[in-house]
């Protein structure tokens, strides 16, 4: 598909470095965990999880995201998508644990909404460095129970999402859905493996995307050659155990770099 023209109708400052952009166009068939390619014309096109049917939630990190942060309501970007495979859709009476770190909340917000709307029970562990960087606290609270963690103890438990997870009985959960920095996700995977629950866990991954439609191979992970853009970005924990996950990834020139 060619990029569709999406006009920004609302910008929400979630934290000092994270903003939500809502568009006049909705991707109505977007499933929780799917992503869009966001084209900042003349700069770059980058993947972003759909945090709403008509919105993305973005951390400013480099060229494209800085350009996006310069845009105002009324400006437009190009959107292609939704692409990739999202989270398993929750069903009524299922018990879902959501683990979100930092801007990893983006694909998990719609999952929480969808779980709550079908009558699944949702528990969220929401982590950030500090209280002012917690995103979607209210959204996750409205979907179910919430545990906050901050590295500096300014809100909730002092520590990491794994600090809370360590004391949890995860056998009660039908699925555990995770997104955040890779090291955080890797620590969650290792902990869930010890608890024997890694095959009920789904992780939303990040690799460098070029084509974003499963053709070029830029986003492939070792050792199975899984394409994060097409076979993922959401992958089951059992697929990640003996992979490069948590260890290395490939740069824009496909060189291996440490995570």
């Amino acid at each position: 598909m060619r990029p569709i023209n999406a006009k920004i109708i609302q910008i929400i400052e979630e934290t000092p470095s994270i903003r939500t952009f809502r568009f006049d166009t909705s991707l109505n068939d977007a499933q929780p965990g799917q992503f869009v390619m966001v084209w900042l014309r003349g700069v770059d096109e980058v993947p972003m999880g759909c945090s709403f049917k008509n919105g993305i939630t973005v951390q400013k990190v480099g060229d494209a995201t800085s350009r996006l942060f310069e845009l105002k309501e009324g400006d437009s970007v190009g959107l292609r998508g939704p692409f990739g495979k999202g989270f398993t859709l929750p069903a009524k009476d299922e018990n879902i644990l959501i683990i979100a770190g930092g801007v990893g909340v983006a694909p998990l917000g719609p999952l929480a909404d969808s779980a709550a709307s079908v009558g699944a029970k949702v528990t969220t562990i929401l982590g950030a460095r500090t209280a002012s960087e917690l995103v979607f606290e209210q959204r996750f609270s409205e979907a179910g129970d919430i545990h906050l963690t901050t590295d500096d103890g300014s809100a909730g438990t002092c520590g990491f999402v794994t600090t809370v997870l360590a004391d949890m009985d995860v056998s009660a959960y039908d699925r555990i859905c995770v997104c955040g920095p890779e090291i955080m996700m890797f620590n969650v995977l290792k902990m869930l493996q010890k608890k024997g629950a890694h095959d009920r866990a789904e992780f939303s991954l990040h690799r460098y995307f070029k084509c974003a439609i499963g053709v070029c191979g830029a986003c492939c992970m070792d050792h199975e050659g899984l394409r994060v853009c097409k076979d993922g970005p959401v992958l089951n924990g059992s697929l990640l155990l003996d992979s490069e996950f948590g260890n290395y990834k490939r740069s824009s020139s496909s060189q291996r770099v440490k995570v």
Partner: protein, 300 residues
């Protein structure tokens, strides 16, 4: 079984360069999905990040791409070829590029230890400044580069041609004169798409190369012409997405076909096409692919 340039292939479908060929593991996955051979991403002398995105868009009629030859350089890639060779039970062909004969030779020699089954020289990428088609349209350079690589390596050398020339036969002839063991035709056709909401060209590089169904008739004609002109085998590539397309390409003169963009519809495409070709040969009483290679030339 097909034999081309001394290499045996379990079937005539080959993964095209630039598709799922960035890592050893993905090459193995493509082999496991049924490809008769796999060609790596084009590898050059230095690491390259490629063009900014968008680098590939699907249009109504095909795919437009301008990746910009992103690659980790031969120094980093020999390990991926080793992984592919260990894990895949099919031939692994190293696609290489450079700005001149000396660079091509440096890359080929740098990858020799990993023992690729053949080299494919990319003298045809339509959108990388100073590389690819800028040399692939110059028959003297094509001949010199082919000769230099053939001199430097023992493995068979295939040369991938650009259709963005007045007469592809003269470039094919240059490759043959340089000592190429086969030619591969065609690389993508120069193309462009513009976003009418803003006037911006969609690709980060502004223009790129077209592949997919739209280019198949162009590829068929190029393969047809090359088959007529050259002694060496022609490997057909361009818009093949079904066994019928593959058979058409073979009848035009291809000894095997490469498949690229069609991977978008599913990686099972290789197995499906190979089975379809096999069935077609059986149903029509042909002993093998050789029986129909260039058939279109004989019926005239």
């Amino acid at each position: 079984m097909v034999k081309i340039t001394g290499i045996e292939f379990r079937n005539p479908t080959i993964l095209a360069s630039g598709i799922m060929g960035t890592t050893g593991a993905s090459l193995v996955r493509m082999a496991n999905s049924g490809a008769g051979a796999v060609v790596t991403k084009s590898i050059g002398p230095e690491p390259k990040t490629g063009h900014p995105n968008p680098s590939m868009v699907k249009l109504d009629c095909g795919f437009l791409n301008a990746m910009g030859l992103p690659n980790p350089s031969y120094a980093d890639f020999d390990n991926e070829i080793k992984i592919a060779k260990e894990g895949a039970d099919v031939p692994v062909i190293a696609s290489i590029f450079g700005g001149n004969a000396e660079e091509f030779v440096r890359v080929a020699e740098g990858l020799t230890e990993a023992k690729p089954d053949a080299f494919e020289l990319n003298v045809s990428c339509p959108h990388a400044e100073g590389y690819g088609a800028t040399i692939g349209t110059d028959s003297c350079m094509v001949e010199a580069i082919t000769a230099a690589v053939c001199d430097a390596v023992d493995a068979p050398v295939w040369v991938k041609l650009t259709p963005n020339v007045t007469d592809i036969r003269s470039i094919g002839k240059a490759a043959e004169n340089g000592g190429a063991d086969a030619v591969v035709a065609i690389n993508t056709l120069r193309g462009m798409a513009i976003d009418i909401n803003s006037g911006y060209p969609i690709l980060g590089n502004r223009f790129g190369g077209l592949s997919g169904p739209a280019v198949r008739p162009v590829a068929i004609k190029c393969v047809y012409d090359l088959y007529e002109t050259l002694e060496i085998p022609v490997i057909g590539v361009g818009g093949v997405s079904s066994w019928e397309d593959a058979v058409e390409m073979i009848m035009a003169g291809a000894s095997a076909v490469q498949i690229g963009s069609a991977v978008h519809e599913g990686i099972e495409v290789f197995g499906n096409i190979a089975t379809g070709i096999e069935q077609f040969l059986q149903d029509n009483g042909y002993a093998g692919v050789e029986d129909i290679t260039g058939l279109a030339h004989e019926v005239i």
